[in-house]
């Protein structure tokens, strides 16, 4: 499976747009004049402009090359599940502490990855929860 030119163009526009947002909106509103020496916005502006140039040059070269580029095979399911598990771990951490997070996050992760046998899930959960409880109680 190869990437379409529209996909390459979208990548270039998205990143280029991000750089422009940095240059004309985020950096000016999020920095103030230091009063002396170089402006605090000096380096961020240079770096954002450099990224913009590199992204545009890369995009133009890839579009002009017309070489087929292989598309990334998977969707975003793995990202969504992994971040959901990590987010769940963070929420448990906030409300119930380190040991609870150490016990429940692996269990949630194993379930999200398709593990349905109760023994491995419960054993991993108990082992890690117990170990972290001993260390952080």
């Amino acid at each position: 499976m190869t990437r379409s030119r529209a996909s390459l163009l979208a990548e270039m526009l998205l990143l280029g747009g991000g750089c422009l947002a940095l240059l004309f909106w985020i950096i000016p509103t999020q920095t103030s004049e230091g009063g002396f020496g170089l402006s605090p916005a000096f380096l961020p502006n240079i770096l954002a402009a450099a990224i913009l140039l590199l992204v545009l040059a890369d995009g133009v070269l890839r579009l002009m090359a017309r070489r087929p580029e292989s598309a990334y095979p998977a969707g975003f399911g793995a990202l969504a599940r992994s971040l959901a598990v990590a987010g769940f771990g963070a929420i448990v951490l906030a409300y119930a502490g380190v040991a609870a997070s150490a016990a429940l996050t692996p269990a949630a992760g194993m379930l999200a990855l398709g593990e349905r046998r109760p023994l491995p899930v419960l054993a991993t959960s108990a082992l890690l929860g117990g170990a972290f409880w001993l260390v952080f109680r």
Partner: protein, 501 residues
């Protein structure tokens, strides 16, 4: 001299040796576990080192960095799956050897090669870092700025598939490093009125998110895509006649010595990493093959060449780190995070300010090499059993360690959410071929780069013509430009493979 003796004395205390041993044990296990690589292992291990002394923490991490490389050979030989990306070369001859009933020979050749390569790399570090640091103290900000640009160009060219995307990733890392208080005026910069960002984005949260949690996302993806596929059959390690004796050692020793030198030389150059070293060393071994040596079909020298160079790279890549403060590899960048947590800033002044610590680190590196030999020899069969741990257990456990580890740095949930955000960013960068490693190195050298750049602008009075008075800086910039041109012409693409640094 007193620092040297005190440092080596510190390295030989029972507590330090214990932490090196624990690091080696953990590193070996992580190297064997499929899906976990050296950067991810180091990233999740940093939080474990919070409560240790600086030397114990570094000793622990060095043990992991060294042993995970050696452990990676186990899965390459036994199940034809490289535990580390750079162990892919080991598969070429390791697995055929195992299929012939010579798994133990292959594993021991890998182990002895790893230990010798590691010791040679460590000796190079001891001999070269101090003189290089002394030289670095004499160069000014103009040269230092040029040197950082050179390092970033090399790393960008070699860590991914495209120089332009690599540079964009590295510069983006530098941009993220500008978040926080401005170094000159002290005014907030891109902090979005978040108090937690006044000190900058937490380095550990970025490291763990970019390298460990995003790697778990990628592993999850691979797990889903592999389901239903046929697994490579594991081989046994107890075949009769599978002994690695003096004869076999003499057979591989010249290859090990040559590969040690190749690995060390490659390790010193920022950007070139274990993958490049393994491939280059294997290529040399193949080129100097004697009649009857059949590389790719189960040649012991092939395994030794790849593993020796892989392990020689790690200590050698610390030379630019200790001497110049420039992380030449991702392991070195993570070590910066660990040292920073303990209030130690790497750079040319390290030998003056923390001489005892540096010599202590040298001592622990030698101890780690010797312990790697012992642990590898004794635990050869036991570690092989770890290849059976399913990914559905490893991934959730590592995810939990990432969450808890990010939290423990400053006991703040903000760091956890930052870590999760950078994990998503890291995954997207991987997906669209923007090097995460270059981003991280850009982030690490960002503050030093800004300082040097500001000093350069003062020294040169913002006049580009003033650069003519700095011939060394001009020469360094010329090398960077030539490297970039070479890379743009595609010369380096054959060398780059995956997480090269």
């Amino acid at each position: 001299m007193s620092d040297l003796l005190l440092g080596f004395g510190d390295a030989l205390t029972p507590v330090t040796i214990l932490f090196v041993f624990l690091g080696v044990l953990l590193g070996y296990a992580i190297g064997v576990l499929p899906g976990l690589n050296r950067p991810a292992a180091l990233a999740i291990a940093i939080p474990l080192s919070y409560y240790m002394t600086p030397l114990s923490a570094v000793a622990f991490l060095i043990g992991i960095a060294k042993a995970s490389g050696a452990g990676g050979a186990t899965t390459a030989v036994l199940i034809n799956v490289p535990g580390e990306p750079n162990a892919a070369v080991t598969c070429l001859d390791g697995y055929p050897l195992a299929r012939k009933g010579k798994a133990r020979q292959a594993l021991q050749a890998a182990l002895y090669g790893s230990v010798i390569g590691d010791i040679v790399g460590t000796l190079a570090l001891i001999l070269l870092a101090r003189p290089l640091a002394n030289f670095a103290l004499k160069i000014g900000p103009v040269e230092m700025t040029a040197l950082m640009l050179l390092a970033l160009t090399f790393i960008a060219a070699l860590a991914g598939k495209s120089l332009l995307r690599g540079l964009a990733a590295g510069i983006f890392g530098m941009l993220v490093a500008t978040i926080g208080l401005d170094i000159e005026s002290g005014t907030p910069r891109m902090t979005f009125e978040q108090v937690e960002l006044l000190d900058g984005v937490p380095l550990l949260a970025i490291t763990v998110g970019m390298l460990a949690l995003s790697e778990m996302v990628i592993q999850t993806e691979e797990l889903f895509s592999q389901r239903g596929g046929a697994a490579t059959p594991p081989v046994r390690t107890d075949a009769s006649g599978d002994r690695f004796g003096w004869g076999e050692f003499r057979h591989v020793l010249p290859t090990i010595m040559r590969s040690s030198v190749i690995g060390t030389a490659i390790g010193i150059i920022p950007g070139l990493g274990p993958s490049v070293a393994s491939f280059a060393s294997y290529g040399f071994a193949k080129r100097f093959a004697r009649p009857g040596e059949r590389y790719g079909e189960g040649e012991l020298k092939g395994v030794a060449a790849a593993e020796t160079a892989d392990n020689a790279v790690v200590p050698a890549s610390f030379i630019p780190l200790f001497a110049l403060g420039l992380p030449g590899s991702v392991s070195a960048a993570i070590l910066i995070a660990a040292l920073t947590v303990h209030g130690v800033i790497p750079g040319p002044r390290l030998f003056e300010e923390h001489g005892r610590l540096i010599y202590g680190i040298y001592g622990t590196m030698i101890v780690a090499a010797l312990l790697m030999l012992v642990v590898g020899r004794v635990g050869l069969v036991a570690f092989a059993q770890l290849t059976r741990v399913p990914a559905a257990v490893i991934i959730p456990v590592v995810t939990m360690l990432c969450v808890v580890g990010a939290y423990l740095e400053v006991h703040s949930l903000f760091a956890v959410w930052v870590m999760i955000g950078f994990a998503a960013l890291g995954y997207l960068m991987h997906r669209f071929d923007y090097s995460r490693v270059t981003f991280l190195i850009g982030f690490v050298i960002g503050p030093q780069f800004e300082l040097s750049l500001r000093q350069t602008l003062i020294v040169t009075d913002r006049d580009p013509a003033a650069l003519l008075g700095h011939p060394i800086a001009l020469a360094i910039l010329a090398v960077a430009a030539l490297g970039a041109l070479f890379s743009l012409r595609g010369g380096s693409r054959a060398l780059s493979s995956g997480d090269a640094v």
